[in-house]
């Protein structure tokens, strides 16, 4: 039920706070009521007709890079390896 799909913003109608997005070539109007600062060309997560969030291309690429490096065989003990991902300090 929480499934959201990445879609690219093709155009924005500021008057209605809506964007036309491309979902793998299929065009659809979605509401921008939940996001700020979205621009044409951005990728957003679309869920039940709303853009929930912008997707960060930099973070997406970094995740893929980590996937490639994490899965390389590393004979050193795991506790001596650099941590693979951002660790957030609990509040």
């Amino acid at each position: 039920m929480c499934l959201a799909i990445p879609a690219q913003v093709l155009s924005i109608d500021s008057a209605t706070d809506q964007a036309c997005v491309s979902l793998d070539g299929v065009r659809k109007d979605v509401s921008l009521a939940l996001v700020e600062g979205v621009e044409v060309g951005d990728y957003v997560l679309v869920h039940v007709g709303y853009a929930l969030n912008r997707i960060s291309p930099e973070e997406a690429e970094e995740t893929l890079r980590l996937m490639r490096t994490m899965s390389e065989f590393d004979p050193s003990p795991s506790d001596e390896r650099p941590q693979p991902a951002q660790v957030e300090a609990p509040e």
Binding site: M1, C2, L3, A4, I5, P6, Q8, L23, D24, S31, A33, L34, V35, E36, Y43, L45, H47, V48, G49, Y50, L52, N53, I55, S56, P57, E59, A60, E62, T63, L64, L66, M67, R68, M70, S71, E72, F73, S78, D79, R81, P84, A85, Q86, V87, E88, P90, E91
Partner: protein, 380 residues
């Protein structure tokens, strides 16, 4: 599709699986609870469990809003639609969920109630605008991912003075459900070594909302995306945490999730909705502060106040093990109804109706798998 295909790369999946097999310690078990139904679906659809070593098991959690909604709330929605002659709009996920007396929204619709499936709260608002003399109720369900669109609908209805629109609110919150499972110290509590944290819920509420898991329960949690490589990378991150004795909150899904989440959506939710003192969850019982109702300042758009109904107490289907499946205590194949009288075509319980339910995932992708008894207490 960009941001999807890259995270389904089979060669990379084999490499990550190989890393996991290399790094797990052979003398211990790793039991990782995937909270979300979206994770369950990915694990089965892409055969992720089959790529894991024998001593790493995924334990299925309660993260499926359709599955945890108690029958009584569906009974209430049907009663609102039939007793008050309103148009009831809801998402397609709910249409076939069993209610009392073998009823469902779909059957009630067939019997004459005006029940309509909508894609978005915007559609429900449009129906209300088009028929100003007719009452339209939006049957709202879902976790924090699906809640902000309901908040937008309430705010829009008030701004436009849409007096014929109201919301039957059943939105539930993920942290209290996770707390309930982690606080369950009963004899049959599922043993969990680490948690794959919610994916799209976290885009809204932020990863920091789960800091309590490490702080209060001493368990590692990794916010995980829904694609198969996301799930596998998160599993590897959890294995490393467990091996190193760390209990950290990590964010694998950083392309969409920040520590603070979507603050605009959170503000809309705070404005239009308020916490309920308690709410019933299928499988988890009554949990305090675990759900939302329409806020007092929006009471004119609250369907529960506008359309009070008499509902007799419901009884779950005898023999249905959904409650234990939702708590990670049983696998779907441990239920004697699974695959006999209960299937997606003829669901007895909600876990078989929703495509994200563990039973539906087993039916669609994993029926031939040997039942995994690792999640039962006897194996603990």
């Amino acid at each position: 599709m960009k941001f999807i295909d890259e995270y389904r790369d089979s060669a990379l999946a084999r490499n990550i699986a190989s890393a996991i097999r290399t790094e797990v310690h052979p003398d211990r078990d790793y039991r990782l609870m995937e909270f979300c139904g979206g994770h369950t679906h990915a694990i089965f659809r892409y055969g992720v469990q089959d790529l894991m070593p024998e001593n790493l098991r995924f334990v299925h959690g309660p993260g499926c809003p359709v599955c945890v909604l108690p029958m009584a709330r569906i009974d209430q929605a049907i009663a609102i639609a039939s007793q008050h002659r309103v148009t009831l709009c809801t998402y397609g996920d709910l249409m076939r969920v069993p209610a009392s007396e073998r009823q469902s929204l779909l059957k009630a619709k067939a019997e004459g109630a005006d029940i309509r499936m909508v894609y978005s709260t915007q559609d429900a608002l449009a129906i209300a605008r088009a028929a100003p003399d007719h009452q339209v109720v939006f049957f709202a369900i879902g976790f924090e991912t699906t809640t902000p669109p309901t908040a937008v609908a309430l705010k829009t209805a008030r701004a436009e003075g849409l007096s014929n629109f109201s919301v039957f609110c059943n939105h539930v919150l993920t942290p209290p459900a996770l707390r309930a499972i982690l606080n369950d110290s009963g004899q049959d509590a599922a043993r969990i070594d680490g948690i794959l944290g919610p994916s799209h819920v976290s885009t809204i509420i932020g990863s920091a909302a789960y800091a309590f898991v490490a702080r209060e329960h001493g368990l590692p949690l990794v916010i995980a995306g829904f694609e198969p490589l996301d799930v596998m990378q998160s599993a590897l991150m959890l294995v490393r945490q467990i091996n190193q004795g760390r209990r950290d909150l990590e964010n694998q899904y950083s392309r969409a999730v920040s520590p603070a989440g979507n603050t605009k959506a959170q503000a809309l939710m705070r404005e239009t909705l308020a916490p309920r003192e308690t709410f019933e969850w299928r499988g988890l019982g009554w949990l305090p502060d675990s759900a939302l109702r329409v806020a007092d300042t929006y009471a004119d758009w609250d369907a529960e106040q506008r359309f009070p109904v008499e509902v007799t107490p419901s009884r779950e289907i005898k023999g249905c093990e959904c409650p234990k499946v939702l708590r990670g205590l049983l696998e779907p194949t441990d239920c004697k109804l699974f695959g006999t009288v209960c299937s997606p075509e003829n669901p007895m319980g909600a876990c078989m109706v929703s495509s994200e339910g563990a039973c539906a995932a087993y039916w669609s992708y994993g029926r031939s798998r040997q039942s995994n008894r690792a999640t039962t207490a006897s194996a603990a």
